[in-house]
C-alpha cells in the first residue's frame, strides 16, 4: 500500500505541529503491514484518509478474511 502525499493542509491540534510522511504499522488477522502516512512526529497521531480506509485497506481486509 502506498498513498499520495496528503500531509499538506493538516496539522496536529494537540501540539500544533505539521504532519509529515512517516512509516505507520498496521495489523489485521495475523497480518502485519507498513504504510507511509501523514503523522505527527511528536504525538504519534496518524491520518488515515477516507479513500485509503474504504479502498485499499478494505480490499486488504477482505483478502485476509478469505485466508
Amino acid at each position: 500500500m502506498s498513498v499520495s502525499n496528503e500531509a499538506t493542509g493538516w496539522s496536529c491540534s494537540a501540539c500544533g505541529g505539521e504532519l509529515e510522511i512517516m512509516k505507520v504499522g498496521f495489523t489485521y488477522m495475523k497480518g502485519n503491514f507498513e504504510v507511509e502516512l501523514p503523522a505527527c512526529r511528536n504525538c504519534g497521531m496518524v491520518l488515515v484518509s477516507e479513500e485509503l480506509a474504504t479502498g485499499k485497506m478494505a480490499d486488504a481486509e477482505r483478502i485476509l478474511e478469505d485466508k
Binding site: 496536529c12 491540534s13 512517516m22 498496521f26 504525538c43 504519534g44 497521531m45
Partner: protein, 775 residues
C-alpha cells in the same frame, strides 16, 4: 464435514447428471454438447465430441438408429431433437479426421473373431487401450452387414476409409481365415483373451455353450461365455432387430470385460451405467415455447448446413439449476450446489496458513431455504453453509467482520437498553406473553405499544411482555454458544411468568421458538387479530392493491400467511400475488446475516426485487423485510402500521429508510414507555459521550449507516477527541478529524464544533489496527 457427508451432499445435487439423450444413448455420446456445437455452427468441434465416444464415427454417425431420440426431453413439449440426422449431417459436412489417443502399449495380445460392427468396435477399443490385437475374419473383407446398407447412406469408400484406421493403429488383420474348432483352440492357447463377434462366426461350431436361439451364450452384463477369458457379443441382425448402436455397445462391453479380465479386476463393479439407463437430471420446461422439428427439404439427402443449425438450436441444453435461477447468492458465485459442496468442504479442510477462499461465500447465504423448496431433491444450501459457519467458529477461523455488527445489535437487544420482562401492569399472573421482537420495536415502536394495548384489552388472564431478541443473529452466525445462552434466558424468564402462551409478531422469532423451544405454545399476533377482530384505529385502505411480501421465515407457515391475507382483505385491500410468495419467498437480505457478511450482495438482492416489482406497494409483516425493501427504494409498509396507525390518514408506505442508530433509539423508547407505564423510573444512565449532540445531514446519515457506523460510535470519537485534544486540524476548511479504536474497529470522524453541538461532515472506519508510528 467428513468425506461421507460431502458425498451425500454431492449426490443430492443432480445438476451434473447426464441429460436424457446421453443417458439413453447406449454408448453415452455427449449429445447435448454435440448438438450445442452444431447449433453454433462449429462442425469440427461437434465432430470431436462424437469421436470422443464413437468408434468409426464416419460410419456410426451415418447409421445410428438413435434410441436417444425416444427419450429427448423435448418430446414432452413437441418433438425430439433430430439427433440422428444431425450426426449424419455433421460427418457428411466436415472433413474432421479421427485422431486417436493411444494408451501405453501393453504386452497382452487379444484375438477378435469376426469383423462385423461388434468385433470391429472391440478391436478399435482394445487397440486404443494399448493391447496387441489380431482380427480374424472368415470372409474377404471387414464390415459384415455394414456392407449391405444403401450406398447413398453409407458409401463404400467411407467404410474402407474408416476401417483403415485399424491398420493405422497397428491392428493385425487376417482375412479369409477358417474358424473351426481346432483353430479356435489354437487361438485360445496363443492369445491372452478372445472376443467373438457372433454375427461373423455363423456356422463355425465353436465348443461353447449356446443359448435357446442357437447363438453363443453370453452373460448379459459382461458378455462372458462359458469359457474363461472368452467374451462375445453382437449378432442381433439374425434376430431381426439389427441395431448398429447396440452392436457397438456389445463390442464395447466385451472390450471392457477383457481389460478387467487381464487386470484381474472386479468384473461387475461400477458397470450399472453400461448401456442405456434412467438419468436423475431434472429440467424445468416452464416457459419454453413449442417449435416443430426442422424437416430437411431433401429427405434422402438429410440436413443442409442451415437446416442442421436451425434444428440444433431447438435443443434445450437440458440442466437443472432451479436453485441458481431463483437465488442471487448462488448465481453470484458462478457454480451450483454440487460444486459448492466440494468448495465448502475444501475450505473447511485446508490446513492453517493456506487460503480459505470460501469464507465470505459460506457467510453470504441468507439461510432462507428457497433452494430447498425449488430443488427437485430438496438441497438446502443454508444447512450446508450453517454447518460450515459452526465449524469456522469452532476452529476460531471466523473473521469478526462478518457478524460482529449483527451480534452487537443482538447484545444491545438482550442488554440493559432494551431487554425487559413484565406481567401486565396490576396483575400477578400472565395467561399470555407478548414477544414483539427486537426488530419490530426498532422499526415501529409506537405501533408495538398500541398493539400491546390492544392485546390487553381483548385477551383475558393477563398479557405479560418480554422485550429481547430471539437469538436469530447468533443462530445464523453459527454461534451456537450464544444462541443456546439466549434461548435459555428466554425459556427461564418465560417459566418464571408461569409458562404463558406466547404471542409473536415476527415470523423469525416464531419459527425459531417453535423449532428450538417446542415446550412453548406459540401463536402469531396476526392470528389473534384475525380472531379478535380489527383494532378500532385500523386504517381504511379501501380499493388499494398491495403485494404481500411474505418473509422467508414464513415459508413453512401457511397458516400465518393466510391469517395475514385475511386481515389485509378485511382492511379493504386487494392482494396481488407474486411468484415468490407462499412457500417460495425470497429473503430481504437480512436473513443469515447476509447484510453483514456481504452488504453488496444484500443490496443487490433487494434492488433486484424492487426492480422486478409490479409497481404496487409492498405490504410486509416482517420488520426487516419492510426496512430492507424501503432502503431499496420500494414503497412498503408493515402490516402493524396499517392496523395501529400512529398518524391517522398518514402514508406509512412513504416512511422510507431508517438508520441502525434510530433502530436502537426506538427499542429503548419502547422500554422506557413501558417502564413509565409500569410506574418504574424510565431514565437510562447517561454516559458522558451520550451528551454529545450531533448535527448530521440526511446524506451523511445514509452513508454512515451503510458503513454500519452508529451515531453513538461518532459520539464516542468526538467525546474522546474533545476531552483529550487528540485531533487533527484541516487548515483549508477548519474541520477536525479524529479517530478512536473500539475493540475491533477504528472509527474516523470529520466534524466542526458549533455552539456546543457538533456538525458531522463524514465518518468512515476500518478494521486494520494502527500499531503506531515507526521512527
Amino acid at each position: 464435514m467428513e468425506q461421507d457427508t460431502l458425498r451425500e451432499w454431492e449426490y443430492k445435487c443432480i445438476q451434473e447428471e447426464p441429460p436424457e439423450c446421453t443417458a439413453a444413448c447406449p454408448i453415452h455420446v455427449d449429445a447435448r454438447l454435440f448438438v450445442k456445437e452444431m447449433g453454433r455452427g462449429d462442425r469440427e468441434a461437434a465432430f470431436k465430441v462424437l469421436a470422443r465416444t464413437m468408434p468409426f464415427p464416419g460410419i456410426l454417425a451415418r447409421i445410428c438408429d438413435h434410441p436417444c431420440e425416444l427419450k429427448c426431453k423435448r418430446l414432452e413439449l413437441d418433438e425430439s431433437l433430430a439427433i440422428g440426422l444431425l450426426e449424419r449431417s455433421c460427418v457428411e459436412l466436415t472433413t474432421g479426421k479421427v485422431r486417436v489417443q493411444l494408451l501405453p502399449r501393453r504386452e497382452q495380445r487379444i484375438a477378435v473373431l469376426g469383423g462385423a460392427l461388434a468385433g470391429l468396435t472391440a478391436a478399435w477399443d482394445l487397440l486404443k487401450k494399448g493391447f496387441g490385437v489380431t482380427l480374424f475374419e472368415q470372409s474377404s473383407q471387414l464390415g459384415g452387414s455394414l456392407r449391405e446398407l444403401p450406398n447413398a447412406l453409407l458409401p463404400e469408400e467411407i467404410i474402407n476409409e474408416e476401417l483403415a484406421i485399424l491398420e493405422t493403429l497397428k491392428g493385425d488383420i487376417r482375412l479369409g481365415e477358417t474358424l473351426d474348432e481346432a483353430r479356435f483352440e489354437e487361438i485360445c492357447r496363443e492369445f491372452d483373451s478372445v472376443f467373438i463377434d457372433r454375427e461373423a462366426i455363423a456356422g463355425c461350431n465353436l465348443p461353447l455353450q449356446l443359448d435357446d436361439r442357437g447363438d453363443v451364450f453370453i452373460d448379459a452384463a459382461s458378455g462372458a461365455t462359458s469359457r474363461e477369458g472368452v467374451y462375445a457379443g453382437g449378432g442381433s441382425r439374425d434376430s431381426g432387430t439389427w441395431s448398429p448402436i447396440n452392436e457397438t455397445l456389445q463390442g464395447r462391453k466385451g472390450s471392457l470385460s477383457i481389460e478387467r479380465f487381464i487386470q484381474k479386476a472386479n468384473m461387475e463393479a461400477g458397470r450399472g451405467n453400461d448401456g442405456p439407463y434412467q438419468t436423475r437430471l431434472f429440467t424445468n420446461l416452464n416457459g419454453i415455447a413449442s417449435t416443430p422439428r426442422v424437416q430437411p427439404a431433401n429427405r434422402s439427402a438429410g440436413f443442409s448446413y442451415d437446416e442442421a443449425q436451425a434444428e440444433a438450436e431447438r435443443c434445450i441444453q437440458c440442466e437443472c439449476l432451479e436453485c441458481v435461477k431463483s437465488c442471487l447468492f448462488l448465481e453470484r458465485y458462478q457454480a451450483y450446489p454440487k460444486k459448492y459442496a466440494r468448495q465448502v468442504f475444501n475450505n473447511q479442510k485446508v490446513i492453517l496458513g493456506a487460503a480459505h477462499t470460501k469464507n465470505q461465500f459460506v457467510n453470504s447465504c441468507s439461510n432462507c431455504g428457497l433452494c430447498e423448496t425449488v430443488c427437485p431433491t430438496n438441497f438446502h444450501m443454508g444447512d450446508l453453509c450453517l454447518q460450515a459457519r459452526r465449524a469456522m467458529n469452532e476452529q476460531k477461523l471466523m473473521p469478526a467482520s462478518f457478524h460482529e455488527f449483527a451480534l452487537q445489535d443482538m447484545s444491545h437487544s438482550n442488554g440493559e437498553p432494551f431487554s425487559m420482562v413484565h406481567h401486565e401492569p396490576g396483575r400477578e399472573k400472565s395467561a399470555w406473553l407478548y414477544f414483539p421482537s427486537c426488530q419490530l420495536c426498532a422499526s415501529s415502536p409506537g405501533e408495538v405499544l398500541s398493539s400491546y394495548g390492544y392485546l390487553r384489552e381483548r385477551l383475558n388472564g393477563g398479557v405479560g411482555i418480554m422485550l429481547g431478541c430471539c437469538g436469530a443473529p447468533a443462530y445464523w452466525g453459527g454461534r451456537d454458544d450464544l444462541f443456546r445462552e439466549s434461548l435459555a434466558t428466554v425459556r427461564s424468564e418465560w417459566q418464571k411468568l408461569g409458562s404463558p402462551r406466547v404471542i409473536t409478531a415476527c415470523s423469525t422469532c416464531k419459527s425459531l421458538f417453535m423449532e428450538h423451544l417446542p415446550v412453548m405454545e406459540i401463536v402469531s399476533l396476526w392470528k389473534i387479530i384475525e380472531e379478535q377482530g380489527l383494532p378500532q384505529e385500523a386504517g381504511e385502505a379501501e380499493g388499494a392493491t398491495v403485494v404481500v411480501a411474505d418473509p422467508c421465515s414464513s415459508r413453512h407457515d401457511p397458516e400465518t400467511q393466510e391469517d395475514v391475507r385475511r386481515i389485509v382483505q378485511s382492511l379493504g385491500m386487494t392482494i396481488e400475488e407474486i411468484p415468490l410468495s407462499g412457500d417460495k419467498p425470497e429473503c430481504c437480505g437480512y436473513g443469515g446475516l447476509m447484510f453483514n457478511a456481504n452488504p453488496k450482495l444484500a443490496r443487490d438482492v433487494v434492488t433486484r426485487r424492487v426492480a422486478t416489482g409490479s409497481g404496487h406497494d409492498y405490504l410486509a409483516y416482517c420488520a426487516m423485510c419492510r426496512d430492507h425493501l424501503a432502503a431499496g427504494g420500494a414503497r412498503v409498509s408493515h402490516l402493524i402500521e396499517l392496523l395501529f396507525p400512529t398518524i391517522a390518514g398518514g402514508d406509512p408506505a412513504a416512511r422510507g429508510w431508517i438508520s441502525w442508530s434510530e433502530r436502537r433509539t426506538n427499542r429503548t423508547r419502547v422500554k422506557q414507555a413501558l417502564l413509565r407505564e409500569f410506574g418504574e423510573s424510565g431514565e437510562d444512565e447517561m454516559n458522558s459521550y451520550r451528551q454529545v449532540s450531533l448535527i448530521v445531514s440526511q446524506e451523511v446519515r445514509r452513508r454512515i449507516d451503510e458503513r454500519r457506523i452508529l451515531e453513538d460510535d461518532i459520539r464516542r470519537v468526538i467525546d474522546h477527541a474533545e476531552r483529550t485534544g487528540k485531533r487533527l486540524l484541516n487548515s483549508q476548511n477548519g474541520q477536525y478529524r479524529a479517530s478512536l479504536q473500539s475493540e475491533n474497529v477504528t472509527f474516523w470522524v470529520d466534524y466542526t464544533p458549533e455552539e456546543g453541538r457538533f456538525t458531522v461532515h463524514n465518518s468512515y472506519c476500518h478494521r486494520m489496527k494502527i500499531v503506531g508510528v515507526k521512527s
